[in-house]
């Protein structure tokens, strides 16, 4: 019996999650506590609460039965519009059987409308926000005039009665105490506005919502105040007559707009905050004018201005050619502004933009950048994102003897390789190599190979040696395949390789600002392995060759399982791939996921979801950045998104400041052994540490060690304070 109940609970687990998320989604959140708090708030009026709950449940069950994407149902995407409709109907009409039936219908309709709008707006990469709710609610308001059996409700007018039935005298007293707190008018209006989002007219509802918002996101909370007050002040400045209560019916538009554009769909930053000074007044103008139109239909504007302003702004931002305004739109929604911000800044720091297809160095050995991006000779204007490479000796010379002949130059006649897998698009192979010091401006690019690596992603290798190119258009090439030899053809007074990335397959196309992956850079006396690199002039660059045992240990293949055994514990991880082709390690026992990306030379963990008590979490921290090739004593450094390291309580204050300054840091360091092991069976030990700091002061250090041999990863150890975990690894 107990087992059956347990099974039933398990089967209905999705519904519980989806319902709480549907409530939280009203504020863009997926925080369970926030969702439940909002749910309770709607039950200040039991009947209203029931209406909302009924609408949400019918919507979610309908979505499930119709077979929509389960993860979206769980997130509450198809529930929050139904909730708003349900609550709204519950407030406006007297309870009756027919009303419940209408609420049930509206729930189903809101799913259909949500999916429809998702399809239409999704094509433009836009969210459907609360448009389904507005359309349905307007529809009901228009239709209800003819429904004779539906009586308009007078509840809400008699709040005290409602509360008395709900919580007796103590609740009344609490309510009275709250109502008559000495709160300034504007703050009262702010709370009322928050409550009005889901038709609540009590201060209590607003306060609970505000607290929930604060707990869910510090940035969203700050933005809600900012949006509200900009709107409030603009009303005063324009001299529009309003009362605090009437303002609250439209004030939430500015709150929601501020959260959406200041931090939820745009990465929170100083600029995203500043833009609100323009956007909110625009929203005010739009609200006032829409009111004039809708009044003639006896319809409220409700959240329509918020929807319009947000969609117009997000859509317009998509057509920018660069991000000089510093407003970065989100590309991976993690449902809180903080998470979005921390992972975005961390991602930009680690991988930059446009690096989904790794492009590697197109040669063997160590070369020098003799002209980088925005170079002083020819890398200008449309061709500014290019590199020239040559080989230098210890004295910094690029040639031996007098340098009178191309063959005196170290780089001349060296193999040039395909920088990544692709298809050869274009080949020029018949331009004479120049006499040293002369240039051929007629065939500016000389002998050239252009390779297509993906849509709008081509690499171009120029000034190659005459008749040295063994490939022809249409050939597919593997990364590292020889595609020619370094020469001195075209606009090239002495032998060098010109390398650029471009978006079209033509010789002479303008260049793309696209980084080179996994480059060992020696620059100004410092050596560093850069996951993405734009090496500057005079940098020495080379690639590392992967060690087979490192690849075996860390190049996870989808389908593989890894078993980690500690003294008292065991975890089994599966390598999986999700709907969006992101790869991750999945630990079923702890329901944790560690997302990673892996290329030919490196492994990077990008994100963790789940239990921080799991071994998988410690592994995610320790294998955060690993290169499969290494030189003796190589050191890798990286930084974590702080929300993945610090616990939520300790970053509470940081969250407020995060759009402007990060004072918390979490740094990663990995050290490779100093000595070479040749081909021996000796195990390889990789040691590293993780440092947490606040204002540059060290707060906590952890140490870790991997032992690797020819069979792959053998063991993993993690030590933090008195905690020491040692796990033996097996992979199958």
């Amino acid at each position: 019996m107990a087992l059956k109940v347990k099974q039933l609970f398990k089967r209905l687990e999705w519904l519980g999650v989806a319902i709480s998320n549907s409530y939280a989604q009203v504020f863009f959140s997926d925080n369970k506590g926030f969702g439940i708090a909002l749910l309770l708030v709607t039950f200040i009026d039991v009947f209203v609460g029931l209406s909302g709950f009924l609408a949400v449940s019918s919507a979610l069950i309908a979505a499930k039965i119709l077979g929509f994407e389960e993860s979206l149902i769980r997130k509450g995407f198809y529930g929050f519009n139904a909730l708003l409709v349900g609550v709204g109907l519950g407030i406006y009409f007297e309870p009756s059987f027919i009303l419940f039936f209408l609420i049930f219908l509206s729930g189903i309709l809101s799913v259909l409308l949500s999916v429809t709008l998702e399809g239409v707006l999704g094509k433009y990469g836009l969210p459907f926000l609360s448009l389904p709710f507005i359309l349905i609610f307007w529809m009901f308001r228009l239709a209800a005039r003819l429904f004779a059996d539906l009586g308009l409700s007078e509840r809400g007018v008699y709040v005290l009665n409602e509360l008395y039935t709900l919580g007796g005298k103590p609740l009344i007293e609490f309510y009275e105490w709250v109502q008559y707190l000495g709160i300034p008018d504007s703050i009262r209006s702010y709370f009322l506005s928050l409550g009005a989002i889901f038709f609540q007219q009590t201060l209590l509802a607003g306060i609970v919502a505000a607290l929930g918002l604060l707990i869910y996101s510090r940035i969203a909370f700050t933005l809600s105040l900012l949006g509200f007050y900009i709107g409030y002040l603009f009303y005063s400045v324009l001299g529009i007559p309003f009362s605090e209560v009437s303002f609250s019916y439209i004030g939430f538009n500015y709150i929601l707009t501020a959260i959406a554009l200041g931090g939820f769909f745009i990465i929170p930053s100083r600029n995203s905050y500043l833009q609100l000074l323009l956007v909110i007044p625009l929203a005010v103008l739009m609200t006032v004018s829409l009111q004039q139109i809708l009044d003639s239909f006896f319809l409220p504007v409700h959240s329509f201005p918020f929807n319009l302003v947000t969609l117009i702004t997000l859509y317009a931002l998509k057509f920018r050619v660069d991000n000089r305004a510093g407003l970065s739109t989100i590309f991976w929604q993690q449902n809180t502004p903080e998470k979005n911000l921390y992972s975005f800044t961390n991602f930009m720091r680690r991988f930059g933009k446009n690096s989904s297809i790794p492009i590697y160095l197109p040669f063997f050995g160590e070369w020098t950048v003799t002209q980088g991006h925005n170079g002083e000779y020819t890398h200008k204007d449309d061709w500014r994102h290019a590199w020239d490479f040559e080989i230098k000796d210890e004295e910094g010379r690029t040639y031996r003897n007098e340098g009178d002949y191309p063959s005196d130059y170290y780089c001349f006649d060296k193999n040039i390789l395909a920088p990544a897998k692709g298809v050869v698009e274009k080949v020029v192979n018949d331009v004479e190599d120049n006499v040293i010091g002369t240039r051929n401006l007629e065939d500016n690019w000389g002998n050239t190979v252009i390779i297509k690596h993906g849509e709008f992603l081509y690499s171009k290798l120029s000034h190659l040696k005459k008749n040295s190119i063994p490939v022809k258009p249409g050939d597919s090439v593997e990364k590292g395949q020889v595609i020619g030899k370094c020469g001195n053809s075209g606009n090239s007074p002495y032998p060098h390789l010109h390398f650029q990335i471009q978006a079209s397959p033509y010789i002479g196309s303008n260049t793309l600002d696209y980084p080179i992956s996994d480059v060992l850079v020696r620059y100004k006396g410092k050596e560093s392995l850069q996951s993405i690199s734009n090496p500057p002039k005079d940098a020495f660059v080379s690639s590392l060759t992967p060690h087979p045992e490192m690849k075996k240990a860390f190049s996870f293949v989808v389908g593989e399982t890894i078993r980690l055994k500690t003294f008292e514990n065991e975890e089994v991880w599966e390598v999986k791939r999700d709907y969006f082709l992101n790869k991750y390690l999945y630990c079923e026992k702890t329901n944790s996921k560690a997302y990673f990306k892996v290329d030919d030379l490196m492994l990077h963990f990008t994100h963790f979801e789940g239990k921080r008590k799991s071994i998988l979490y410690l592994f995610y921290l320790s294998a955060y950045k690993i290169s499969f090739g290494f030189t003796p004593g190589l050191k890798l450094n990286d930084t974590f998104p702080i929300n993945q390291i610090f616990n939520p309580r300790s970053i509470f204050l940081q969250d407020f400041l995060a759009p402007f300054h990060e004072y918390l840091r979490a740094e990663y360091e990995l050290n490779y052994p100093e000595s070479n092991r040749g081909f021996s069976n000796k195990a390889l030990s990789l040691k590293g540490n993780i440092q947490k700091s606040s204002f540059g002061k060290n707060m906590e250090s952890s140490r870790f060690e991997f032992i690797i041999d020819a069979a792959g990863l053998r063991s993993f150890e993690f030590e933090r304070g008195s905690q020491n975990i040692k796990a033996v690894c097996e992979s199958e």
Binding site: G365, D393, E394, N415, G480, N676, R677, G678, F679, S680
Partner: protein
């Protein structure tokens, strides 16, 4: 006012060589060499005595990097291994180890030397036909890479592997016809007659050894790069065959050494500086053969090179003093130096580049250059156009870094000091001049021979 007295120049009779250059070329003026890396040779001789071996650290490192660059800019995995026999002075070895080279040894003694220098056992390649059972045992224990020379050695290793815990890491040395003469077929297993393939099969079926590589060493002082291309192609074909039959992927191909230095061989028409191929030439031949072979791109083995001579020859100098001059019976001039074949073993096959240290005279005379030994064969150069040095004048021999400091003889006289000039031009004694004590310390006299009366 006093006039400086002109230095005395002994009179000579010389045929006038004016007019068009003959087929022997223009009359050659031998440029003196007074400084090495900016340090005066005269001052070094005064400080450390004559004769004196001088090594330039700067040249060693520069040459190594040039060689490494030539290969690493053409091939993804390149490893040099310092050939101990070429010059096993510890300081020299350590320069190469600092630059990243592993160690290549051909005897138990060299193996011990490499270990004592701190080279990890697994980075030592053990070559040569002379490996005792004890040597092999130690090499297996150290996980060193044993390059098997013959079947007797192979059987011995298989035998040892049965009683030892460690799995021996082995490669076989392959000799092959690369179209050059003489064919070095006394080392390793022959490729053409199938012995090499046979040896590979025995290793694979024994299941006791890890076959990690293939090794060849096609000759010495090679002036043809094509021979290397052929050798690399043949080794690559073995690697492909091995992978096809056993699914076994080789970790390395060792192309040995034998690259020519810029010394001139006796009897060569052109000087070595003009004929010796560059590192780039050798590298191009070897790497292009491997890259175009049928080995799968992601299974390309590491390329190991054991070149010794070409890396160190240029960095070594032998400086000394003229002991005497005399005229021979046929009228030729003879100059007697304080360094002979006891120190310059290589003078048996090179026409060494001997130079005066100080500018002496524009005139030169057909001269035989003798060493100090009481042996008729002690000839450094049998005839060369040499200026008119006299007793006490200093000379220097260029390009003597390879083999001389390992093959030198303690004969009749002591072996001299060896100094190293570092990057800043500071001199360091890296081997002391021998003295009576050095030699006597190794000798024992039986009691009945302790005393004598004369």
């Amino acid at each position: 006012m006093t006039m400086n007295k002109l230095t005395f120049e002994r009179p000579i009779i010389q045929r006038i060589n004016a007019g068009l250059p003959s087929k022997y070329g223009m009359p050659r003026h031998l440029e003196p060499l007074s400084h090495i890396d900016g340090v005066s040779i005269e001052s070094l001789l005064q400080e450390f005595g004559s004769p004196l071996f001088i090594l330039s650290e700067q040249t060693i490192r520069k040459t190594y990097r040039e060689a490494y660059r030539a290969f690493s800019s053409r091939y993804p995995k390149v490893q040099f291994s310092w050939s101990y026999k070429t010059n096993y002075l510890n300081a020299v070895c350590n320069i190469f180890h600092q630059e990243g080279a592993w160690a290549e040894v051909v005897s138990g003694f060299e193996f011990q030397k490499a270990l004592a220098n701190g080279v990890p056992g697994e980075l030592i390649l053990f070559n040569g036909p002379d490996k005792s059972t004890e040597d092999l045992r130690i090499a297996i224990q150290h996980q060193s890479l044993i390059h098997i020379d013959h079947f007797d050695e192979l059987y011995e290793i298989i035998h040892l592997s049965k009683e030892m815990e460690e799995r021996p890491k082995v490669a076989i040395r392959v000799n092959l016809d690369t179209g050059i003469y003489p064919l070095w077929d006394r080392f390793g297993f022959n490729f053409e007659n199938g012995e090499a393939w046979d040896a590979i099969n025995r290793i694979m079926t024994s299941q006791k050894l890890d076959l990690v590589g293939l090794h060849t060493h096609i000759g010495t002082y090679m002036l043809s790069t094509d021979a290397y291309r052929i050798a690399a192609t043949k080794l690559a074909s073995l690697a492909v065959k091995l992978e096809r039959k056993y699914g076994h992927i080789l970790q390395y191909i060792d192309m040995g050494g034998g690259f020519a230095s810029k010394n001139t061989l006796k009897g060569a028409y052109y000087p070595g500086t003009d004929t010796a191929p560059s590192f780039d030439d050798f590298a191009e031949a070897i790497t292009s053969a491997l890259m175009t072979s049928d080995i799968k791109p992601d299974h390309l083995p590491m390329l190991i090179l054991e070149t010794g001579r070409a890396l160190i020859d240029d960095a070594g100098y032998l400086a000394g003093t003229v002991l005497a001059t005399k005229r021979l019976s046929d009228g030729r001039r003879a100059t007697i130096l304080d360094a002979g074949v006891n120190l310059l073993f290589t003078s048996f096959w090179y026409d060494h580049d001997v130079r005066p240290v100080a500018p002496i005279s524009d005139q030169s005379e057909d001269t035989t250059i003798f060493g100090p030994l009481c042996m008729n064969i002690d000839v450094i150069r049998s005839n060369m156009m040499f200026p008119l040095l006299k007793k006490g004048d200093r000379f220097v021999v260029r390009r003597v870094g390879a083999y001389n400091m390992t093959q030198w003889m303690q004969f009749i006289t002591f072996r001299p000091a060896v100094i190293l000039l570092d990057k800043e031009g500071n001199s360091h004694v890296i081997r002391k001049r021998e003295n009576l004590e050095t030699l006597n310390s190794q000798e024992l006299i039986p009691d009945h021979l302790q005393k004598f009366d004369l």
